[in-house]
């Protein structure tokens, strides 16, 4: 057994050394752990690790296979997202023990803190002592055994799995109920406890999901969306048809309406800006266009391998689940052909997409669906989702019609529920936790990959400062117009600030702390072409993200019924016969041509403005065409600019 003395080694080095021993199948013991964080994070070899003392945050997190023994206590998030192996803690565990675990077993000989097993999906979390409040919070599967008492709201909003409590159940959580454990279950528990030398209590209470909130009742009536001029714009009536329809539908279903896409009404946007210079000659000088430098590296700020983009454009995160497998695959191909990055979105990494995309960002969301160490290692960037433009402050939504057994299995959750992902990460409550989480992710992949943040626009002026201080490599900033596969209409429409305002707030926030240019910003939400992109870059964005526009390039007709799951074009559906309508190669080439048109537009505008590098674009190239755009950007108001150009 090899020894590591943490009194003389940084945790970063220690984790490298542990992984090295893992590769050589050498067991390890760790002295002077001193409650340091991230011990053994990202370890994927089935070695034994003995920690002679206490461990800090995320001990054994993001692992697959090791058998870890902690002599004393652990802090929060022990065994976070583990896939297999075991962790035995001799003393107590802090909050969210076994959060998002997806296999293996965790045994805590003492007590455990609140929200243990939050969003866990598989495996066994066992606590020999008492558990604090909300054990099994939003758990989707797996088994929790509490030999002592459970705190309040045990099983709150659980969707699957079972919690066995040997002691007192203080109170049941929302949508949880008691049922009698079977003999078979008790026998399995008895074997488990015997293996760990723990006593079998006289009786167990079993807590499971009551199932009252897994799906929405009365389905929303299927209507084709009203044409927007009938309810938006200055000519629409106050009590227009959409108001009538919304109120009638609400009276029918008894809840808010759900739809796809982002904000539908017009908001001030990049289209309300113009270039100061007459660009009517743009594109006419092929040599100038060919000479424009567009290649962009992003994400190398903290020493990770930066993403290498052939132009400052990324594909926005969109999940396999919201989109069909074929569409994800086509996105992977298009991103590769155009030399830009693709993003998994929620729900895990789709193998075909990984195979097709050259650069793929893996996104980590609150529910940790499909999140695992192996896909993290296969990724080219890691991204923590805090919120998105279409539904900031809430989690993802995937209606039962699209949560097929295959997608549910990939996500590790029960099929056929109207999935409403948690709105908050179990382990990121605020800015300080965020630092810890990001470091854990970095540790898990040996600091090799950029770590970014997906942020819906709102209190951006201040949020961006926290993002900077928390050591992110870049931020994907998503404005009000950012799309989604399913969101409440009211939230999509009225929560968040327009993309244009979001960028200004971010830039000015950074300026306020004299950090101009120190945190790259990828702007998304309603960017449709190279002209929009050039304006965003000129204002100060480092790159742009394309989501909805990619779908349209692939044949989306903007019916806004992505949530229903019947997508006529086969791109936002999981119905086999509809998915079959989607021709991967043809659509991938369409998206590729679309991206190449953007490349040409960016180059043509850059050249016409007299630069040979897209980074030459700047605020002085822009004017505002409307009073709103002028006020929001503080650009000069020149309403006649751009007319007739």
């Amino acid at each position: 057994m090899e020894s590591i003395d943490l009194a003389t080694m940084t945790i970063r080095t220690a984790n490298e050394v542990i992984r090295g021993h893992g590769a050589a199948h050498q067991d390890v013991q760790i002295f002077n752990p001193d409650a340091k964080h991230y011990l053994c994070v990202g370890l994927t070899n089935p070695i034994r690790v003995r920690i002679r003392g206490s461990a800090g945050y995320f001990c054994g997190g993001l692992t697959d296979g090791p058998r870890i023994e902690v002599q004393n206590n652990v802090s929060w998030g022990v065994g976070d997202n583990m896939l297999a192996g075991s962790i035995v803690v001799g003393g107590n565990a802090g909050a969210i023990a076994g959060e998002a675990m997806r296999g293996g077993e965790i045994v805590i000989k003492g007590n455990m803190g609140s929200r243990a097993g939050q969003v866990m999906k598989k495996g066994t979390l066992c606590c020999a002592g008492d558990s604090s409040f909300m054990a099994g919070y939003m758990m989707y599967g797996g088994r929790m055994i509490i030999l002592g008492d459970s705190g309040e709201k045990v099983g709150e909003d659980m969707a699957g799995g079972a919690i066995f409590v040997g002691g007192r159940v203080t109170s049941l959580g929302s949508d949880a109920r008691l049922e009698a454990p079977t003999e078979e279950e008790l026998e399995e528990i008895r074997t488990f406890l015997a293996r760990h030398g723990l006593p079998m209590p006289d009786r167990f209470k079993k807590i499971v999901c009551a199932g009252g909130q897994l799906t929405y009742p009365t389905p929303e009536p299927r209507l084709r969306s009203l044409p927007h001029p009938r309810f938006t714009g200055s000519r629409a009536d106050y009590w227009n048809e959409k108001v009538v329809e919304d109120n009638r539908v609400k009276a029918h279903i008894g809840r808010y309406r759900i739809r796809g896409y982002g904000a539908a009404r017009p908001v001030p946007h990049l289209t309300d800006l113009a270039f100061r210079k007459d660009l009517s000659g743009a594109g006419t000088d092929p040599a100038a266009i060919a000479g424009v430098h567009l290649r962009t590296f992003i994400g190398g700020k903290h020493g990770a391998r930066a993403l290498d983009l052939s132009m400052p454009v990324m594909i926005a995160p969109m999940s396999y689940g919201a989109l069909s497998g074929r569409m994800k695959r086509a996105l992977g191909i298009a991103s590769r052909l155009s030399g830009i990055s693709e993003n998994t979105g929620e729900g895990g990494m789709y193998a075909y997409e990984r195979a097709e995309a050259r650069q793929l960002i893996a996104q980590c969301l609150s529910g940790r669906f499909g999140w695992n160490i192996h896909d993290m290692k296969r990724a080219d960037g890691l991204e923590l989702y805090i919120s998105q433009g279409a539904k900031p402050g809430l989690g993802g939504q995937l209606m039962a019609s699209k949560l097929t057994p295959e997608i549910a299995a990939m996500r590790g959750i029960p099929a056929g529920m109207d999935l409403r992902s948690p709105s908050r990460h179990p382990d990121v409550l605020g800015g300080d936790d965020l630092i810890m989480k990001i470091e854990e992710l970095r540790e898990a992949v040996g600091w090799r990959l950029p770590v970014s943040l997906k942020l819906g626009a709102g209190r951006t002026r201040d949020d961006i400062k926290i993002a900077l201080k928390d050591g992110l490599d870049f931020v994907e900033l998503d404005g009000l117009q950012g799309g989604t596969g399913a969101a409440g209409n009211e939230v999509a429409e009225y929560v968040g600030i327009p993309t244009l305002a979001a960028l200004m707030e971010a830039l000015e926030g950074l300026e306020e702390i004299d950090a101009k240019g120190q945190l790259p910003i990828v702007l998304m939400g309603g960017i449709q072409n190279g002209v929009d992109a050039a304006k965003a870059l000129a204002l100060g964005a480092d790159a742009v993200g394309l989501g909805t526009a990619m779908l349209i390039a692939a044949g989306c007709i903007a019916c806004m019924q992505c949530s229903v799951g019947n997508c006529v074009a086969g791109l936002a559906t999981q119905k086999a016969d509809h998915v079959a309508r989607f021709d991967i190669e043809r659509r991938a080439l369409s998206m590729h041509r679309y991206l190449e048109s953007i490349r040409r537009q960016l180059a043509a505008i850059t050249a016409a403005l007299g630069y040979d590098d897209v980074r030459g674009l700047n605020r002085n190239d822009l004017v505002a065409l409307t009073p709103e755009a002028a006020a929001m950007t503080r650009l000069p108001y020149e309403p006649s600019a751009g007319q007739g150009r």
């Binding site: 939003m138 209507l223 084709r224 969306s225 009203l226 001029p229 714009g233 009590w239 108001v243 919304d246 609400k250 009276a251 008894g254 896409y261 539908a264 009404r265 017009p266 594109g283 539904k391 992902s421 948690p422 908050r424 605020g430 800015g431 626009a457 709102g458 209190r459 201040d462 949020d463 409440g488 009211e490 429409e493 009225y494 600030i497 979001a502 707030e505 449709q528 072409n529 002209v531 349209i552 390039a553 044949g555 806004m560 006529v568 086969g570 509809h578 309508r581 989607f582 041509r593 679309y594 190449e596 048109s597 043509a604 409307t626 009073p627 929001m632 503080r634 600019a641 007319q643 150009r645």
Partner: protein
């Protein structure tokens, strides 16, 4: 209350809409319409068919297509190949839908007649599709048209379409329709150019002459062994005879030479006309064949044997009759430039045959035109795209000018010729032509299954019928089928619900996705289009709108709320003192489960009032009105909390939980008389009265103010009478703040509340509850009728459920907004949670814009 009939209700205004003006920008057009040579409003007529408005559908179809019945049968439907749905699960069956509408409306239907209004006249030579289309256009413009037809019937090449594809009467129907619609067209039958009339006469007699003589002469086959006796039969002549019913019957093995549509028709007609077998030989490969794919498929299905890549080399004869044909392998048909230049190999084959039919091309012949230099190589040469010829007044169009094409293309030619002639006569001298694209803007069919419905082929005629010459090979749609197929239209012509991805924006993205990056011209055209500014969505003069307010979401600075579920407190207390955690017991107080109050139903039908009263009581919401909705229970109190609206003449009721004085006079005090100690006292204030009323209310220790942003809460359905005045909230808060009395009085807001989001906004502006009126009426199936609302439903149970559902949904909307901002109680929403996206609204509400406030130096 939602019921499916509201789908059709919302259709009505759009259905009566007529065609709007030409849409000049291709980015605003659906692909099917631009693909149609005559620019038919296809999505429009599909929607009208779904609606069952067949007459309007036919008007839309025949607006630019005088041969609608024929096109319903034989159009190659270029629209269908461009249909966006073709890229996923099959194009919309556009041609069949057209046929359905025409068939249903019947033979006698025609557009209303148009009179001759001009003195100048035009001669048209040739009564085929191009000539007749031009004639109709010119007649519609008021010109008298003299149409000279060489034969004894109009229709030109259309007369050669075999009856199994096109029943003979349909051509006559379409022609009758044209002539009934255009009395200004005079037809001269048996009036051949060079025989009965000459060109010079026409030039003298008329102000313009249009040549649409078509290509009516079959190119002869020239192969060794052919003699006048064995030359077989040629395409068009034979087809015309077949269509007339006077072609001699065939027998034995028939060989057809040719790969175009005429050859396909001949082969299929031969099968029906006595041939024991039909073998079709053509030079081209199957992909290269000029015939339309579906025509080829039908021929093969019916039993025609296809031999691609063979050219006739020799005709074998026995006893002066054809006994066989020798074919030589054709290795390539076109040269590098795509010109017809067949290359033959050595391989040959011989097929025994009893008859030889050929259709290898058509040409025009006319001595008069040839003499005038107006005919060359079997065509009438034109000087420009508009069809001007070498002779000053003479135009040419259609097949004789452009070569053989589909009927729909000939109609395009006819439209263009009419356009050119009008330009010539009216002195506008146009340079180019494109069809006028009109859209009727019909609302999309509210068919729930539109995404899943499959393309259906009409039932094929049964085998026995199929071999008859006069039996149509395609059966028509039945009405159900037609409706399903019409519902499949993606409606690329209409906007969807998103202004940010408008039809134009989507078309631009898809144009980018379809344009080769190396195509400099197309790329530059796209770039120029993209650089055009959009129309300002917030033009000057647009009033402040509550929709311009957005909420700031929690992310990092504010903590995101856990759990995800909609849990958020909506409990609401209306009372005078609003300090946190302290409410003296002796103050009048009204507790509600939701921050929602309702008003305006005093005059509503009893079932509506009863349902509302019960619904409000069950949900824990209150009502504001002159009367308590329903008669009180045993203790005289209505089931739900009632705030009594009091005009000058009204008497306060002890049954009311509170009293609201409407008094319009700013300085008039409220009588401080409570009918019971727990009764709340309040008054209505408006933007006009609040400056004086608020200090007085504070002075009088009123419990609440009802901020009236509507024209007048005392009037029925006041919200329908004008935009809500949002400044009343801003001013009330400003005055209260000045008095340092912000927490001393409860505020209720009325005016323009439509949703939980609207309620959240007024709560965030510091009001305690939002008062709804019209929105609830809509939820109860009320119909807005001018400035009033009509209720159709009288069944109380569903109305009660609608009240419950609506309150639950609306309260949930407010709650979820609060949660997004990081609040666990809707009453914790604050002005700082909001920003505006327009200057006028920012001004009206006293809120900042979403960005642009400048650097915060103090940070």
């Amino acid at each position: 209350m939602y019921d499916s009939s509201c789908d059709t209700k919302r259709m009505s205004p759009a259905c009566t809409a007529t065609a709007s003006a030409d849409t000049p920008d291709p980015m605003d057009l659906p692909p099917c319409q631009t693909a149609c040579p005559v620019g038919t409003d296809i999505p429009g007529y599909a929607a009208l068919i779904w609606n069952g408005e067949l007459e309007a559908a036919v008007a839309a179809i025949s607006a630019t297509n005088p041969f609608s019945a024929i096109c319903g049968r034989v159009c190659p439907a270029p629209c269908e190949s461009r249909c966006k749905r073709a890229e996923s699960d099959g194009a919309v069956t556009i041609r069949q839908l057209k046929r359905f509408a025409m068939d249903r409306l019947g033979a006698d239907y025609h557009l209303p007649p148009v009179p001759v209004t001009r003195t100048r006249t035009i001669a048209i030579v040739g009564g085929g599709p191009a000539g007749l289309t031009a004639a109709q256009d010119l007649a519609e413009a008021g010109y008298a048209v003299h149409l000279h037809e060489a034969g004894d019937r109009l229709g030109g090449m259309m007369n050669a379409i075999p009856p199994f594809r096109l029943p003979a009467n349909l051509l006559q129907q379409d022609i009758r329709r044209i002539l009934a619609h255009c009395p200004g067209i005079t037809v001269h039958y048996n009036s051949a150019l060079g025989a009965q009339i000459d060109l010079a006469t026409l030039e003298t007699r008329h102000d313009a002459v249009l040549l649409t003589i078509g290509l009516s002469i079959d190119r002869p086959l020239t192969v060794p062994g052919l003699s006048p006796e064995t030359a077989g039969v040629h395409g068009i002549r034979w087809m015309e005879a077949v269509a007339r019913g006077d072609a001699p019957r065939l027998a034995g093995a028939v060989v057809v030479v040719g790969g175009g549509n005429v050859a396909m028709d001949m082969a299929r007609a031969a099968l029906r006309h006595g041939a024991e077998s039909v073998d079709l030989f053509c030079l081209e490969s199957r992909q290269e064949m000029p015939a339309w794919p579906h025509e080829i498929e039908q021929a093969v299905t019916e039993g025609v044997t296809l031999h691609n890549g063979w050219g006739p080399a020799e005709v074998l004869t026995r006893d002066g009759a054809v006994s066989g044909v020798v074919f030589r392998r054709c290795t390539s048909v076109f040269d590098d430039k795509g010109c017809f230049a067949p290359v033959f190999g050595k391989e040959t084959r011989t097929l025994a045959a009893d008859r030889l039919l050929s259709a290898i091309g058509l040409e025009a012949r006319n001595a008069t035109l040839a003499d005038r230099g107006l005919l060359a190589q079997g065509r009438v040469p034109t000087n420009d795209a508009l069809g001007r010829t070498a002779a000053a007044k003479v135009f040419a169009a259609g097949d004789c000018a452009r070569g053989p094409s589909a009927i729909v293309q000939a109609m395009h030619e006819g439209h263009k010729a009419a356009f050119a002639i009008r330009g010539f006569l009216e002195g506008t001298a146009p340079e180019s032509y494109r069809p006028a694209y009109r859209s009727r803007r019909i609302a999309p069919a509210p068919e729930a299954a539109w995404e899943t419905l499959a393309r259906e082929a009409p039932p094929a005629a049964d085998a026995a019928a199929a071999c008859r010459m006069d039996a149509e090979c395609e059966a028509p749609f039945d009405p159900g089928m037609a409706r399903r197929q019409a519902a499949r239209c993606l409606r690329c012509d209409t906007e969807t619900g998103t202004a940010n991805y408008s039809r134009r924006a989507r078309n631009l993205i898809q144009a980018m996705a379809a344009t080769d990056p190396e195509d400099t011209r197309a790329q530059n055209a796209l770039l120029r289009t993209l650089l055009q500014p959009r129309e300002n969505p917030f033009p000057p003069g647009r009033p402040a709108h509550i929709d311009d307010v957005v909420f700031l979401s929690a992310a990092l600075t504010r903590l995101v709320i856990d759990p995800y579920r909609e849990a958020c407190s909506t409990r609401t207390r209306i009372t005078r003192r609003r300090e946190v955690g302290f409410t003296p017991d002796d103050l009048p107080t009204l507790d509600l489960d939701h921050p929602l109050l309702f008003t305006g139903f005093d005059e509503a039908p009893l079932p509506v009032r009863a349902a509302l009263a019960e619904g409000l009581a069950a949900a824990g919401c209150g009502y504001i009105g002159r009367a308590p909705l329903v008669a009180g229970t045993a203790d005289g109190k209505p089931p739900m909390p009632w705030l009594q609206l009091l005009g000058a003449q009204d008497t306060p009721s002890a049954a009311a939980a509170g009293l609201v004085y409407l008094s319009d006079t700013a300085a008039a005090p409220v009588p401080l008389e409570r009918r019971h100690p727990g009764q709340l006292l309040g008054r209505r204030v408006t933007a006009r009265t609040l400056a004086a009323a608020i200090p007085l209310a504070i002075d009088q220790q009123l419990d609440f103010l009802l901020l009236d942003g509507s024209p007048d809460i005392g009037q029925p359905w006041a919200e329908l009478n004008g935009h809500p005045d949002l400044t009343v909230i801003r001013e009330a808060i400003r005055i209260l703040r000045q008095l340092n009395m912000e927490e001393e009085i409860a505020l209720l807001y009325f005016g323009g509340m439509r949703s939980g989001t609207d309620a959240a906004k007024v709560l965030a502006l510091n009001c305690n509850a939002a008062v709804f009126s019209v929105a609830m009426a809509l939820a109860l199936d009320g119909r807005i009728d001018g400035r009033g609302i009509h209720f159709d439903s009288s069944d109380e149970a569903p109305l009660r459920q609608a009240v419950a559902h609506w309150i639950k949904g609306t309260s949930q909307e407010a709650a979820i907004i609060a949660r997004c901002t990081g609040k666990t109680d809707v009453h914790n929403l604050e002005p700082e949670d909001m920003r505006c996206i327009t200057l006028t609204t920012a001004e009206a509400l006293g809120l900042p814009l979403a960005s642009g406030q400048g650097r915060r130096e103090w940070f």
